[in-house]
């Protein structure tokens, strides 16, 4: 896409990029030797009919950086320009202009107002009304406010192969330049063969998009739209298509392969087919376009979900449904190539310590939606952290680097201020996400975060996108949110505050109660189990608890609930009691899992309840099994009630007999009721 790189280092949604344009004219090429030239008179006329398309830059930067920006490294003209050049437009009548559709769309959703055209004197005329629009053919016809001095081009539909042509445009943002070449071929449009692209050898560079392709007499024969990836055979739309295009409706007609990369294996053909009446004032056009794009995204997602209904989670997820993962970091539930579902831990994660004992962890596996986890320092509950978007992002930025590129220098951002937008979203499992959006003004981009409050901090996704793509990308994030797998952890005071914070925590915690008193045990009651750690794990301000979540089929329904409890005496010590739910594995489950279940039911093997130790005699543990005395009859999966693996571990000096006492106490103070 014709998008000047200096507008910021962000990663486009690949899907949306291919949808909106041919990702055209991405690299500059040097012109072949001039074979022909326009007369000086014609050149003057060309310059009088051709304009830069520009988007206003922000006047105020709300971003805080680690150091003063080395702005002197930015080229002079760019540094002093109040506008970003995004392409080229040309006049076909005194107040009728043409450019490529993707050039104008680059400004749709811009945070800084309406795009405009700029004359050679630097005067900017904003787009007034959109007269024609065709996304797939990639053109737009519009008027501007004000009365620029214009000598419109003459239009010609008579072109022949080997004619000399000139590509005119704002190449590389350096002002309007004219470069020559030959019309080399006519290539049928790929989707339905509805027209033929003009292929030409005149050089085209970033910024050429939307400019005119002229014949030797200086007449417009086409609209420059795209650059051929590896050769100097660039694309222009015949001007005839523009002239005969509808002036009563904006047309969207584009197909693409649609999928949710890294989550779902399946794909469908997404059909972006829509229209809205024209002419429209620019703002209404922008609104209608955004609406149509979002409608398309939602429709394509729905189509994908319908097509994959038999493959979607929890189909083929037997292992996941029978496992409580211990991963402290959030992970995504994703579909493997064999279409089975599992939670895979991050393969490209890194952690940044925060002052104190907190940290920011992030995973770079999925650049469209970077997973993160924040653990705030200390073990006290801090209510304002969950209601202060500035504080939230300041902490996140300590672990996630979103650098601003100034020439070759990457300058770290330390604050984005308070979020511009903040909304609450409920996902499929009743989890409540804080969707927060910040402006990255210098790049006309947004930072969007979906954050899930946890007792000790947050987990979530972060994505950076150009303003145009805000809606589609946040829509994508919401889809992915359903697939996050996480454990909840925190100190006991943090848990207390978390459970009280009803508006920000999932309803599944409504029926969980936590009672503790320093120096005594911790009592946890859930609808499925009741645990009292008196005499085993003693509560203090340093004590911590994890609730490990699991998916299960409960009475025929996919349920997300607490599958494991871990109560730790001290964040830094290894004295804890851990319960982990185990559903009966399916008959076709792996041998290892079936044997494990066998050992659990028979209380032998690893589950014999024999106290044991590591090689250094520093860590001691005992493992046993708990199940319901009277399991609920309308019981769970496979007919057999689940069992809970129970582990007590300590790095205190203990003797075997003390471990036996712990086991006896555990069995007494643990009740399973499912």
């Amino acid at each position: 896409m014709d998008r000047p790189t200096r507008r910021g280092a962000y990663r486009l949604s690949v899907t949306v990029c291919t949808l909106l344009a041919a990702c055209a004219i991405a690299a500059s090429v040097t012109s072949t030797a001039a074979a022909a030239a326009l007369t000086a008179e014609l050149q003057k006329q060309v310059r009088a009919a051709t304009f830069e398309v520009v988007i206003r830059k922000p006047t105020k930067d709300l971003v805080t950086y680690e150091k003063p920006l080395p702005l002197e490294l930015i080229p002079f003209t760019e540094r002093n320009d109040a506008y970003w050049p995004v392409g080229t437009a040309f006049a076909i009548s005194p107040n009728t202009f043409v450019t490529a559709a993707h050039v104008l769309i680059a400004g749709v959703g811009s945070q800084f107002g309406v795009p405009g055209i700029r004359d050679p004197d630097g005067k900017v005329y904003t787009v007034d009304r959109v007269l024609k629009f065709a996304l797939h053919e990639d053109y737009v016809v519009f008027t501007v406010s004000g009365t620029p001095t214009v000598t419109p081009f003459v239009v010609s539909t008579a072109v022949a192969i080997d004619d000399t042509v000139f590509a005119v445009g704002n190449a590389l943002g350096e002002g309007v330049v004219i470069r020559d070449g030959l019309l080399t071929s006519l290539t049928p449009e790929a989707q339905d063969g509805k027209w033929k692209w003009l292929r030409f050898s005149a050089a085209a560079s970033p910024g050429n998009s939307g400019g005119p392709l002229l014949d030797a007499q200086g007449r417009v024969v086409g609209v420059v739209t795209a650059k051929s990836p590896n050769e100097n055979l660039n694309y222009a739309l015949p001007i005839e298509q523009v002239m005969k295009g509808s002036d009563t409706a904006g047309v969207l007609d584009k197909r693409e392969s649609f999928g949710i990369a890294k989550i779902l294996q399946g794909t469908v053909v997404g059909e972006f087919q829509d229209s809205f009446p024209l002419p429209l004032p620019y703002q209404d056009f922008a609104r209608d376009f955004r609406t149509a794009l979002l409608k398309y995204m939602r429709g394509a997602q729905a189509k994908l979900v319908a097509a994959e209904a038999d493959n979607l989670f929890p189909h083929s997820a037997a292992k996941l449904l029978a496992t409580v993962y211990e991963s402290p970091e959030p992970t995504l539930v994703t579909q493997d190539e064999d279409r089975s579902w599992d939670a895979h831990s991050c393969s490209n994660g890194s952690s940044t310590p925060l002052p104190g004992d907190g940290s920011v962890w992030r995973c770079a596996d999925n650049p469209e939606a970077g997973l993160f986890r924040i653990i705030y320092p200390g073990s006290a509950a801090d209510e304002h952290r969950y209601h202060d978007s500035k504080d939230f992002m300041d902490v996140l930025l300590k672990g996630v680097n979103v650098p601003r590129m100034i020439g070759p220098q990457a300058v770290r951002i330390t604050s984005l201020g308070a979020a511009q937008q903040e909304t609450l979203l409920h996902d499929h499992f009743g989890r409540i996400w804080q969707q927060r959006i910040w402006s990255l003004g210098y790049a006309d981009a947004y930072v969007a975060v979906l954050a899930l409050p946890t007792p000790d901090g947050y987990v979530g996704f972060m994505s950076v996108m150009p303003s145009t793509l805000l809606d589609p990308v946040t829509e994508r994030l919401r889809f992915i949110a359903d697939y996050m797998y996480l454990s909840y952890s925190g100190s006991l005071p943090q848990w207390h505050a978390f459970l009280e914070r009803r508006e920000l925590r999932p309803a599944v915690f409504d029926h969980i109660t936590l009672q503790y008193e320093n120096g005594k045990g911790v009592r946890v009651d859930t609808p499925r189990l009741h645990l009292d750690t008196s005499g085993i794990v003693t509560a203090s301000a340093q004590s911590a608890m994890d609730l490990r979540m699991t998916y299960m089929i409960d009475r025929g329904h996919l349920t997300w609930d607490v599958g494991g409890v871990l109560v730790r005496e001290d964040r830094d010590k290894h004295t804890f009691v851990a319960l982990s739910r185990q559903a009966k594995p399916a008959d076709d489950a792996g041998k290892e899992r079936r044997e494990r279940w066998q050992h659990m039911t028979q209380r032998d093997g690893d589950f014999a309840g024999v106290a044991t130790h590591d090689d250094q005699y520093t860590n001691f543990w005992i493992r046993t099994v708990a199940g319901a005395e009277h399991p609920a009859p309308a019981g769970a999966e496979s007919g057999a009630p689940p069992l809970y693996e129970v582990v007590y571990n300590t790095d205190n000096k203990v003797l075997p007999r003390q471990m036996e006492d712990v086991r006896a106490t555990l069995v007494k103070d643990l009740r399973v009721t499912e």
Binding site: T612, H613, Y617, F620, L655, P656
Partner: protein, 341 residues
Amino acid sequence: MPSLGQRAAHAVIGLALSSLALSAAPLPPHTPGAIFTPPAVLQLTNLQQLDDAEGALRRLIWQLHSAPALHNVTDSRGRDCAQDVDTYLLSAAHAARLEALRAELQHESGAAGAPALHEAALLLQEENYLATLVTNYWWLQTLRAQHEENLAALAARAPPDAAATVQGETATAGERLTSAYVAALAAGAGAQGSAVAALKSSANGLFATYNDERGALAVIVSERARERGENSVEQARDTPCPAAVTQTSGGDKPRPAAGSPPSVYPPASRAAYIEGVVVVRAAIAASGCMLHARVFDSSGVPDLDAAALAWTQRANFSPGERDHHAVAGELDFRVRFKLAQ
């Protein structure tokens, strides 16, 4: 606590390896009672030494508690090793007292800490003594289980009354060992010497009883088998006959000759204090070559019987003589497996 440390390493490495392969255990002294060696006197000069000594004791407790060889062995009281470890080693009172002394030592240094160190040393010395008793008693119990296994196999083939008598004798000897052990555990500092002496004696007595009674029963079983015509399997010579022996035995029967290699004591049997006598019947050719042999009177221990036959294959014999000519004949002889005292 070097003595306990070594003792623990010695005994427990054996225990850890021994569930399948007792032969891998370090060779114990050649009488069972000798393994009850009182620990050396313990002296502590600083807190670190106290921590090391207590750490070694705790490790030993865990090792004994989870040693595979000690699983599933019970003694005449019906108790197992883990129960004794829990009951007798580092009692709650001792652990609490050690903790108190350690706390005291963290605040006192030099001469001021000497009384606490002395008390801790005495306390750990007592623990050493108990640990030696428990460790070695239960080690002997695992060895006793092997004797018991041999005896049970033999008893199944013996006349019931004879078997019952033998099992009664061994059970009584087992109870005697257990009583001596319980008494030694309870013995005060002054009585420990005599208690250990009694323990050693009853340990020796127990294994001697097993060996003697089993041997006697094995002879009865062998006789019964012969009466029924169930001779033991004959083992033929497994190498070609050597050159003829010129010297005869001087009598009409063949005899073992000088220059035979010594018999090999099966290491597992030796480690378990298993002793026995095997009577072998061998056919000797006129050349002095052993042609075939079989067990005539079993020791009651398959390993010892096999070792006796193996020795017979390598031994030298002189043929009998008649009318100044060497003649073939049959020979019965004993192969003894007896541990040095």
